[in-house]
Amino acid sequence: GKEEVQTVRVAEVTRSIFYAPQYVALAKGFFKEEGLKVDLKTTWGGDKTMTALLSNGADVALVGSETSIYVYARGSSDPVINFAQLTQTDGTFLVSREKIDNFTWDQLKGKTFLGQRKGGMPQMAGEFVLKKHGIDPKSDLKLIQNVDFANVPSAFASGTGDFVQLFEPTASIFEKEGKGYIVASFGAESGHVPYTTFMAKQSFMKKNKEAVDKFTRAIYKAQKWVDSHSAKETAETIKPFFKDTDPKLIETVISRYKEQGSFATDPILDEKEWKNLQNIMGEAGELPKEVSHDILVNTEIAKKAIK
Amino acid sequence: MGFLTLNDIHHTYFTKTSATPALRNINIDIKEGEFVSFLGPSGCGKTTLLSIIAGLIQPARGCAMLDGKNTGKTDSGIGYMLQQDYLFPWKTIEENILIGPKINGTLNHAIKTETLALLDKMELRNVLTSYPKQLSGGMRQRVALVRTLATNPKLLLLDEPFSALDYQTKLKLENLVSSTFKTFNKTAILVTHDIGEAIAMSNRVLLFSQRPGKIHKIFDVPENLRLLSPFEARHHPAYNELFQVIWKELESLEPEE
């Protein structure tokens, strides 16, 4: 009958409420409407996700844009192109062990700060924000950066650190359980960056132009949907993807992200955001080389999609 | 009453599903200095009886008395020699032969000198610092004998000590053991499957019946054989005669396979 349904294999870096629009697109059937069958797989961690993409284990990766720069800098002949942005701020929060009513960043000085693991976007954004507030991560506080992403919350819960940089929903869980208190948002402080983006290999995009277009359109639909619906409705929709999480909690987290504008409202990754990303990476000493926007980002598709 | 008295000994091995009667109604009197052999079909309970005499197993009924005392207590003055030498492979020969006195805490200079002298007597020189595996089977069994004698036991139990040796070595060792025991006037019990060995070495041969082991018959070895060394005894006409008698008797006990 109609056009053949194309399957797109997507590898996401982690299963997180942070990526709510993606799950909405799946749950609401936006991909299906476009004639796509999306096969979603979680490959824990940016490294594994990018590896999956490079080794043709996935067609599209949802992962931080910094990985595409790493790959390019190592001399890839088939660069990975960012084509649709999903989140536009950092997604972590500063959680304090003690309750602090009037938090200022100065209070971090001399304390132990349990950060994210070295080389990843959360760590770089974290250090960037610290520096922005005049704190030298090397000398002004004791920085712990040796814990794998998944183990950071438990390390903090078992007594390591005065402050911790946490993703949702753990930050909210900690607050709910009285284990810690959210005192600041790295997302609000870092400004807009291409934090999580859909990307694919150049060769794939050439060969599957239409599919990429359809994919981006579906994402855009979902972004608009999330933007125009309440946190509660969004939480309801994506619940099947978070079977073991309290629906109340999902709602809290979504509203927190919505408030600080973490969910991108369109898939366009503009040049300003790209500059900011490289700036942050440069500050952290992890930028292997400057890459211009037009090499690794394709805004055409996104622009076409939102029309 | 003799030097060693076994009084109405019964023993049964139990497992969850079975009860194996091993010994029934064993009464034996052995005089000091006597050399007695136990002969009997496989599994008739000979090793069990030695273990009971050594006090390693508590019999279900009856008791074993050595020199008027129950053998069940430690330091009972009994030496036990097994089928294989069971020298400790990680100990030197010296450590091996002194393990007995060391364990029961009687090790002193005198005992050490005595034991080493005994080793010399067994024609084992210059092996003190060797390890057991550097020795031949016959040498090892001689070392085991020295180890057993080191605590100067009143009674020696020998459970098929020569069965793992080749024929020539075995004949030589029989002579050596026999003369050593005669010299020290030791009382000994020898378990063996070899009728010839039993006749050649002992004063009396006790024939056990099939399981549960009972004493089936007792043969006294003629005086003239006893005075000979085992090797000579084997070539005496009286030996052949007794051999035939015991062989027939044993044949009648073992069921055809």
Binding site: K41, T43, D47, G57, S154, S158, P169, K179 | F14, K16
Partner: protein
């Protein structure tokens, strides 16, 4: 008293004592079991341990029931079990074939010897990420991980057993004019059968490790996934439930292989 009767009585007494001993042991085992879980529950309720990190038996029990009713546990368990069994059969088979090849060609075995040593010493776990690069993040890599972890050790153990088959068995066959293949078929392989079976026991454990680590690295289902996911969403009840289920099923599988070993070796 007649001796027959006496023996029977003594036997009865013996069995009574035996049963009493068994009961005592069972009692202590149960005691430890109950004590462990009650103390855990109590400590969690009284906040002696952090209930968030260490959850509690009752919470785990509840979660187990929900997971059982919605069928998701069965699905995850099924995946992991399949992967493990596949990995373990593959590892054993390939390892044994490799061993046969080495036995067949003494030259080859000498040439490959240093490589086998290196591959054996290498912690195969570290290869996990490379495997994903090579095979992609899918079931294949996980099964491959479960197999790779046991192939080399199987090869070495089975090959050693092939070589250590009593040469006199081969001598018997050679006097009848047997070829090398006949020697292998009639003596070497059957004589090593017990060794091969007992490597199964080791391999089943190794395959679990391989599969769990594989699932840590790339998966969307399975018990290893449940652990990683639980950590991700900070749901330690889920993590501990998965761990307990792994413990139970790893034990069951191990016992099954042990049973198989006993059955097969009985006639061996």
């Amino acid at each position: 008293m007649n001796p027959k009767n006496e023996t029977e009585q003594l036997h009865l007494q013996y069995i009574k004592r035996l049963n009493k001993g068994h009961k005592q042991i069972r009692f202590y085992q149960l005691l430890i079991f109950l004590a462990f879980f009650s103390i855990w529950e109590l400590a969690s309720r009284k906040n002696w341990i952090d209930p968030l990190l260490f959850s509690s038996p009752s919470k785990i029990w509840e979660l187990l029931q929900t997971k059982l009713t919605d069928g998701s546990l069965a699905a995850n368990l099924g995946i992991t079990l399949t992967e493990t069994v596949l990995g373990f059969i593959l590892g054993t088979l390939l390892g044994t074939c490799l061993a046969a090849l080495l036995w067949w060609s003494p030259l080859l075995s000498k040439i490959l010897d240093p490589y086998l040593v290196v591959l054996n010493a290498m912690p195969k776990i570290a290869l996990g990420p490379i495997l994903i690069v090579a095979l992609g993040p899918n079931l294949t890599s996980i099964v491959a991980m479960g197999a790779i972890i046991s192939i080399i050790i199987t090869t070495i153990v089975v090959f050693t057993s092939f070589r250590e088959v009593d040469h006199n068995y081969l001598k018997v066959l050679q006097t009848f004019g047997a070829t090398r293949f006949q020697c292998f078929k009639e003596a070497v392989l059957p004589a090593s059968f017990p060794t091969i079976i007992s490597t199964l026991k080791v391999n089943v454990g190794l395959s679990w490790v391989g599969v769990i680590v594989g699932e840590f690295l790339a998966s969307s289902k399975g018990l290893g996934y449940m652990i990683i996911y639980g950590f991700q969403v900070f749901d330690f009840t889920l993590v501990l439930l998965s761990l307990l289920i792994i413990a139970v099923f790893a034990t069951l599988m191990y016992q099954a292989v042990e049973l198989l070993e006993k059955k097969l070796i009985k006639n061996g």
